[in-house]
Symmetry: D2
């Protein structure tokens, strides 16, 4: 397929690379051009502006937040103004439920199609094409995009016609990871202060009750305090929690656990860990215990 | 081995049954005798008093809380007063770090041995001999007790000489389950209020990011609101959270997530769900969202 | 003085009335005209559009939220487009720190002046001209507006040249009221469930430790569960907490107590109390205790 | 009156001194005798053991916690074993609801009388005889003790026949002070990080909305970070919050705000502020904001 790809960050770059490896044509745009040039070395076309990435079958966005996507999609010279009738915009970043709804409607009016397809997985999973893709939008369009999803992920879920459903689910998943990290952080702080070996504790619980790989990945970061280099930085997790809380407020759902982790993410930034991996919320649990 | 077994509740009964099936001699005591009689039908001896269960190689306790164990172990006619020199008391219930330390010391003075060996798993896992056993105490004694652990569990962890280490780890594991249930409860409330299918959501996250069986087991209870019959009732989870918070206070570790779930467990009791499964803390999340 | 007044809600109407009583000329605008007509009966001019209220010395806005003020101030036919050079816009509603900064800058560029002057006090205090005014902006402009503040309040604080300082302080004050109401709500729930008389409890603490009138006013609402008619409805308090949390996030200040009350405000809305006084967050404390 | 006084800490010493000044005979006991000797210099008798303070009309206890009072009251050579029939034990320290109930019952069986009379006020208020006394117990006994209460306080409340009612109210009052301090701490952290003057903020709110002296006293400590010397140390506040939470759990009342401040009190201890005034929970709010 002929694919435009906008946003070559820690996730976008390996995803675009996997699309190239799968034989797709990729026209890539990134605000700082160096990252697009790196991709050109393995076969990508470099777009000088977002509009130049909008002339294929599909344009994928993988941008940092709502503001970035709003500018690129709805701003002057943006995707809505440039995309061909009938082609598909796949929004893969974690954005708000509200923006997803606006984009679906704008594309519908413009004769193009919007699919929300956020992904679960850290940069290493993106590199290994092992992401989980949560896709929502018109089913025919999702079917057409299967080769895209297959090239970057290990499994794709189709969660229905309403694009924003995928965003709700993605936010919930990220929130549950945050709940897990908070739980790990508090438990590991307690284990340490009782003089026990946190690595042994982690081995034990991840080989018995909590066998999901996410527990091992994050638990290992926390036990080793290996918050750098960051897979996802604290402000990105704070953004996701903010979006989750906004989705909660919009539907009148109190989310006290999301509030709790949000407060710890803010504390992590306040204390100088903004560049660290977001699991540094567990560092706050440790510091609050005097560790 | 010749085993005394005190406490035949939802967990203790299937555990004792598995010991019988494995060929051990079991002398069982329960406050309400009917449960001991049921076990007699498949080969157990019935003890008329706790002391009568203390004359074998090992005496296991599986009681509801600190108060019950304290009475049976340290009270008049209790284990400490009755156990043979050199024999082993295995405390398998979830008790406080402090009581575990007192029991280890009391047995040491009495010439007997205390092993803490709390287990992870719900009654169904106990019935299937699929528990995870976390054992701590003198290593020679743990080695002697291997046949006991093998008969009831799928895996045993030896976490060192200090008995209370096993209790710290057990409390941390239960706390992490509580964190998981709170996260599931809030996420599922949001999913519902956004008009999505919670069963589909659960299938998605448990086949991608959260593959540990505990997510499926508890997620399924919450999605179906199948809080009855209870595997473990709310007050038992509240007790475990109280013990976790006490272990935190003793070591100066704030545990805000434990506090949060504790408050929801109290709300569940206040609203009439004391007889429900403890995962009914997720019912509070739902009700607070107007569901 | 010649004063425009935009926004005649539960607070704005009595404030405008007090300006009339003090001898000022008032040109009033309200989206639903009936409220302006009521004021005309006691001497106000009625403006057909916001622009018509912008031709005097001063234009005051007392609107529900950021969106309403943004539309009236910055939208087409709005204040910025209509105000005379050198005249003063006094923003008296509780708005975000960010919007206050934008307004100050926009007025500065336009040759007019922005003063932020939010007020403390409920509608009864507005009627009695007993509000507390927290004013910030160019000091000469504040001095010119003294007659306005004197007509509506019992005391005015000048907190400096930066307009948004007044908004930070107002948000902090509202947050502290929320902390007080949450504390009262939880304490009164406990008093009730221990079988004591909450009215006696309230008399005791408000005549000893907590003598500030706010404790009596809100405590009495909570003790009598007299949440209707509402002085300020729950969604308005939720908005203020949201603004407080945004001010916290902007400066990297975690505000866990604000998060807690926010969750209870959302629960109050979810459970059907959106039309009640915002102190109905205490109703959530009561319900969570099974009352 | 002939009064025994047990417990001469930061509160007890000035209280006993005021009893002497009022003309009462005081026989004082303290574990570390030096404090009793200091009182002897102004006319007190020194008791060598608690029992020696039990032969008058009244014996007052002002001890650190439940454990201390339980030992002195119910232990061998304690008050219950020594007090004369018909005489009165006034428990003035902040203790658990449960212990108050046990003491009332024990005294009733012994033919003596138990009055719970905890006080509001810091050491300076104790020195100035400006405490507020919350008394509960048999009304005739309370009437007999009026001269005692009048000598140490500015006002006495009689809250009924059930002694533990006074303890519930005292715990609620302390909790509401904790809510106030947490609110002040978070607000002041925000004010600071927005570059405003916290002293000006405090003056403003304490002369408008929050006029109760407690806001000035604690706000001033927080603004000046004058946590030493301590009026009441952090562990004492943590104890009171623990008792409040226990009273909540006993009556199935979730108290999330009490849990929140408890966590901050534990963090304060973990970070090395155990010897500071308990308002150092606000120091945690500041540190979590990177201040």
């Amino acid at each position: 397929m002929n694919i435009g790809f906008i946003g070559l960050g820690a996730m976008g770059s390996p995803m675009a690379e996997n699309l190239l490896k799968a034989g797709h044509t990729v026209t890539a745009y990134n605000r700082t051009r160096a990252r697009a040039d790196a991709l050109a070395a393995i076969g990508a076309q470099v777009a000088a502006a977002p509009a130049d990435a909008c002339h294929g079958d599909v344009v994928i966005t993988m941008l940092a937040d709502d503001a970035a996507l709003e500018a690129v999609a709805l701003g002057p010279g943006g995707i809505l103004a440039s995309v061909l009738s009938g082609s598909i915009h796949i929004g893969m970043s974690t954005i708000s439920v509200a923006l997803s709804e606006r984009l679906a409607e704008a594309h519908h009016r413009a004769g193009s199609v919007y699919i929300a397809a956020p992904v679960f997985g850290r940069p290493e999973a993106a590199a290994a094409a092992k992401l989980f893709v949560v896709a929502a939008g018109p089913s025919a369009a999702i079917a057409r995009c299967r080769p895209v999803f297959d090239a970057i992920g290990q499994k794709t879920y189709d969660v229905g016609e309403r694009a924003s459903a995928a965003n709700v689910i993605k936010l919930c998943g990220n929130f549950m990871l945050a709940a897990m990290v908070e739980g790990l952080g508090e438990a590991i702080a307690l284990v340490r202060k009782h003089g026990l070996d946190p690595a042994q504790f982690l081995d034990l619980i991840t080989s018995s009750v909590f066998t999901a790989p996410a527990y091992k990945i994050y638990g290992s970061i926390i036990v080793r305090e290996a918050y750098q280099p960051a897979g996802f930085k604290v402000p990105l997790a704070l953004k996701d929690l903010r979006l989750m809380l906004a989705a909660g407020e919009a539907a009148s759902v109190p989310l006290p656990l999301a509030s709790l982790v949000r407060d710890h993410a803010i504390a992590a930034i306040a204390r100088g860990y903004a560049e660290w991996d977001w699991s540094a919320v567990a560092k706050i649990a440790a510091e609050n215990a005097g560790l």
